[in-house]
């Protein structure tokens, strides 16, 4: 997708929240939605099952207004975490400018995190994208749970973050770490705005 459109003077960033089911991806978007003034946000589209699991994906458009003469828009997506929705995940990943990998800090979800991360790499590769070339940050959610049930930020980094990209501890339900993560991925994506980035 076009990151910078010089003709239309528009910057559009597509950011995808990826991770295992129930790790808190939708919660991240809901928290952001609740903090953004109405005039700056579009309608949050959320397709969920009756048990509140994301069926298709969530979509939250954010209008950041004119920055340095460019109309700046962020589009936040989540993917369904359950393994059988891989086709949807591939679809949502297409054209992503950056990925937030939302890991579940609970020790019992360790394997789910690894599986989801592997799935992310596979899906990107299938689209010809090397994960090492794409801005990615990690968020380790549910750090508010008792420490005997969870892995620490450092342990999560050791398990998932081999490239030492920015990572954030979070309690998305109460908002801790949500904007820090969004800021982290946004900065990483915007760093690629320099000349040479995709131009429409």
């Amino acid at each position: 997708m076009s990151l910078v459109n010089f003709t239309a003077r528009e910057i559009t960033c597509k950011i995808v929240y990826y991770g295992p089911g129930r790790s808190g991806k939708t919660t991240n978007l809901q928290y952001v939605y609740g903090r953004v003034p109405e005039s700056r946000r579009g309608r949050m589209v959320s397709l969920a099952t009756q048990t509140d699991r994301t069926l298709f994906f969530d979509f939250l458009p954010l209008e950041l207004g004119a920055i340095s003469g460019f109309t700046t828009k962020f589009q936040l997506y989540t993917v369904p975490g359950q393994s059988y929705y891989n086709a949807t995940r591939k679809l949502v990943l297409q054209g992503a400018d950056g990925v937030v990998f939302v890991g579940d800090s609970q020790a019992r979800r360790f394997d789910d995190n690894l599986e989801s991360l592997q799935n992310l790499q596979d899906n990107l590769l299938a689209q010809g994208v090397d994960i090492r070339q794409l801005p990615v940050v990690f968020q380790y959610n549910k750090q508010d749970l008792p420490s005997d049930l969870t892995l620490s930020h450092e342990e999560m980094d050791d398990a998932l973050n081999f490239r030492a990209v920015p990572s954030f501890a979070a309690d998305a339900l109460h908002g801790n770490g949500v904007f820090e993560t969004l800021r982290g991925i946004s900065e990483a994506v915007l760093k690629r705005l320099a000349v040479g980035s995709p131009v429409a």
């Binding site: 903090r35 004119a66 920055i67 340095s68 760093k191």
Partner: protein, 333 residues
């Protein structure tokens, strides 16, 4: 090095009141006739009262009257940085020439001249040269020249020879007018008493006043009822945290899944301002590269009008290519 003028910082977006009327009048006079009325014009004020806004407004207005006018805005730090870079590269003369070609030079934050004798001497030389050529220089500072520590007496005298003017804190009426205007610009509607209530809180820094307005807008955006003056007062006074827990404050439309928090509006504002800085840095990075190339080629005695024309444009689709083409032309010719 040099940044482009912020398109929002114009005279028509500057709220005029008793505290800044004189400064605005002088600024407009300078914009209409650069180099002839008050030269140099020195504007000082505490932070957050609109110095940079006025400075850029002068640039916009002057350019609107005469689009061919060469206007350059930069902060003192950028001025110093460019000087050091030029000296390090052995292009001191090119640096001086660059500023001598400017019709309207706008220098922000000159209070940082403190103890910089070398830069003071450079600015003195430049001020003299610009004045002689009837070119305008406008400077801003957070204090009057005489209070800038260790500032060369000759510079103080040069500034006094033009016009030194201050911008004071806005009075109550101006604060109401600022809130009203900015609310209109943001298409936010509040009861008149709400804005008046905020104006009575005595926030005399315009930046903080706009921050308070942002809080009101964000809070009202997630509520189902209009804010009352009392709520506004508490919200801006930072006491809303208690009220959200104990009274019927507005809640997010998607509650209960969206938690509410007293820090909600500023969280997004902080995010926005950081993103804005990041975008500006990336989007305008090409200007620095073009300027550096101009300095380099000028230092080697080449004409750089072709590259300077690039800087006149708001955006160049492929500045690297333009630089390459220029370099090829130089080699070929």
């Amino acid at each position: 090095m040099t940044v482009t003028l912020n398109p929002l910082y114009r005279f028509d977006t500057f709220v005029v009141g008793a505290a800044n009327r004189l400064a605005v009048t002088a600024s407009k006079a300078v914009a209409e006739s650069p180099g002839t009325v008050y030269n140099p014009l020195f504007i000082y004020a505490r932070p957050g009262l609109g110095k940079t806004h006025l400075l850029m407004a002068i640039g916009h207005a002057a350019r609107a009257i005469n689009p061919r006018l060469v206007v350059e805005y930069l902060t003192l730090d950028e001025f110093v940085e460019a000087f050091h870079a030029a000296i390090a590269a052995g292009h001191g003369e090119a640096y001086r020439k660059r500023f001598l070609d400017v019709d309207l030079l706008l220098v922000d934050d000159v209070q940082f001249l403190t103890h910089r004798r070398e830069m003071q001497a450079e600015l003195l030389r430049l001020t003299d040269a610009l004045q002689t050529a009837n070119r305008q220089i406008v400077l801003t500072s957070d204090r009057p020249p005489a209070e800038i520590e260790a500032l060369d007496e000759r510079l103080i005298r040069r500034f006094a020879g033009g016009l030194i003017i201050d911008v004071a804190a806005p009075d109550y009426e101006t604060r109401v007018a600022i809130l009203r205007r900015k609310a209109e610009e943001r298409r936010a509607t509040f009861g008149e008493e709400v804005l008046e209530a905020v104006a009575t809180l005595g926030i005399d820094n315009v930046r903080e006043l706009l921050g308070a307005l942002n809080r009101l807008i964000a809070f009202q955006a997630v509520g189902d009822k209009p804010l009352t003056p009392e709520q506004a007062r508490m919200l801006v006074g930072g006491e809303v945290g208690e009220t959200t827990e104990t009274t019927e404050q507005p809640t997010a439309p998607t509650a209960p899944t969206v938690p509410s928090s007293p820090s909600a509006p500023s969280e997004f504002d902080d995010f926005l301002s950081e993103i804005a800085a990041s975008v500006a840095q990336q989007v305008d990075a090409w200007r620095g590269r073009v300027k550096a190339a101009i300095l380099r080629w000028q230092g080697e005695g080449f004409r750089t009008a072709q590259l300077e024309a690039l800087l006149e444009q708001e955006m160049v689709a492929d500045p690297e290519r333009a630089l390459r083409v220029f370099e090829e032309d130089v080699e070929r010719l």
